[in-house]
Amino acid sequence: MSEHLANSSAGISFIVNGEKRTVAAHGMKRLLDVLREDLHLTGTKEGCGEGECGSCSVRMNGELVNSCLVPVLQAEGATIETVEGLGRAEALHPIQKAFLECGGAQCGICTPGMLMATAQLLAVNPHPTIGEIREGLAGNLCRCTGFKRIFDSVAAVVVEMDATAKTGGAHAG
């Protein structure tokens, strides 16, 4: 039967941070586990494992999703961006810089998800109001910072990206 071609443990391919990857994983395995275990991209974190905390947020086909609720078979053919694709230690993305500078990260468990939610927000809305920042990040819980520093960080990115745009500089990602 043809549909079994798309069955559970056959190779599943998708693009992660610009690179084509193929994994031999069970189709019901969570995208979160495939990223961390099969692809060793451990930046994406597990908090609640049930869609409530946003620590596992990644971008899939340009939309923010909680990777703990995505069976990997549904990522077949998708384009996925994780926090590893945002920047590297030597070349941080402006969003990462702002979180560092504004104290938007403490223990760091929520941070990759916060960064991806911020990246998503700014991709659709480069000039969010404080209300829009709050809504964009409402699915990402933080137990450490009390959120104010996180919202400040996002506001700082907006200012910084505008300044860079004016001086004609360009950012990766």
Binding site: S2, E3, H4, A6, N7, S8, H26, G27, M28, K29, R30, G49, E50, G51, E52, G54, S57, E63, L64, V65, N66, C68, L69, V70, P71, L73, Q74, E76, G77, A117, Q120, L121, E135, G136, A138, G139, N140
Partner: protein, 292 residues
């Protein structure tokens, strides 16, 4: 407890016909999975009993929003993010657009489909009241063909619906004429982005010279299934709206409401909150009528 991936089979035929053929061959054996925001949560908790799953995600034939003269056709695979971003949904089905912003966080809305919300059939589902007060219809599909029924007859009991085991929900049709009605939708819950609604009330109404000529009311979490509040509507229908009518309608609602008394809040509290919301809606109507 964590569910075990190996205990389930998941396949993705990739087309609507592929899924329907599979379901026709073995009715009831395959559970459709769309955005997975219900199913994967159940799986995580070790509560997913179904062994065989068939994916609807990525099937373009189910993910559409089409505007045609008098109504909007919304594919079952449209996400709540698709809905809230759509111009005509915003203007012509504004209650649904508003409800869409409540279905969890942005990350959840990007996966949660309207089909999954309705078929899951929670009495607290947020899109249900908005659809009920706009006379929405649902379209079901199988290899045998398509059929359309009023959404108000889709839910038949607690988590039970009118679909046969070989059918999928195909589309939801929302008439645009309710954009001319006065509309109301409010939810009282604990945490805005997350909580499954404690109580929500939706209403549409048309008044002529202070008299209620049309009114539709529906609530979430006030009955074992999403349902219209027909008896409360009847108290108001054809009546001049005033303090007495409002009080009687609130009393009727408290009678009619049969909330399930679960841990989220007590039944009496929910009925009281819903009656207050009704009061707010009806007073808004009064104020709007008083304006020249």
């Amino acid at each position: 407890m964590r569910g075990n991936a190996e205990a389930h089979e998941l396949i993705a035929p990739g087309s609507l016909t592929g899924v329907l053929e599979l379901m026709a061959r073995a009715p009831g054996e395959w559970m459709p999975i769309a955005g997975g925001t219900e199913i994967m949560v159940a799986h995580a908790a070790g509560r997913l009993r179904e062994k065989k799953l068939v994916s609807l995600w990525g099937i373009g034939e189910l993910r559409f929003i089409e505007v045609s003269g008098e109504s909007i056709a919304i594919g079952a695979g449209a996400t709540f993010r698709d809905l809230r971003m759509h111009d005509t949904v915003q203007s012509g089905a504004s209650l649904l657009a508003k409800a869409a912003t409540w279905i969890g966080s942005i990350a959840n809305q990007s996966r949660a489909t309207i089909g999954g919300n309705l078929v899951n059939g929670s009495p607290a589902a947020d899109s249900s009241p908005a659809l009920l007060v706009c006379d929405a219809e649902v379209e079901l599909i199988s290899m045998r063909g398509k059929r359309r029924i009023p959404y108000s007859s889709f839910h038949t009991g607690y988590k039970r619906n009118a679909m046969t085991p070989d059918e999928l929900l195909y589309a939801v049709h929302v008439p645009l004429r309710f954009a001319q009605h006065r509309q109301y939708l409010r939810k009282v819950g604990t945490r805005r982005a997350m909580a499954i609604s404690k109580v929500a009330l939706a209403g549409t109404a048309l008044l002529h010279g202070g008299v209620v000529s049309e009114i539709r009311l529906a609530a979430a979490s006030l009955a074992p299934l999403p349902a219209r509040l027909y008896r409360t509507e009847a108290v108001l229908h054809g009546r001049a709206l005033g303090p007495l009518a409002i009080r009687e309608a609130q009393e009727a609602l408290m009678e009619e409401a049969k909330p399930i008394d679960d841990i989220r809040s007590t039944a009496a509290y929910r009925s009281r909150v819903a009656a207050n919301l009704l009061g707010e809606f009806l007073n808004e109507l009064l104020t709007a009528e008083a304006r020249p």
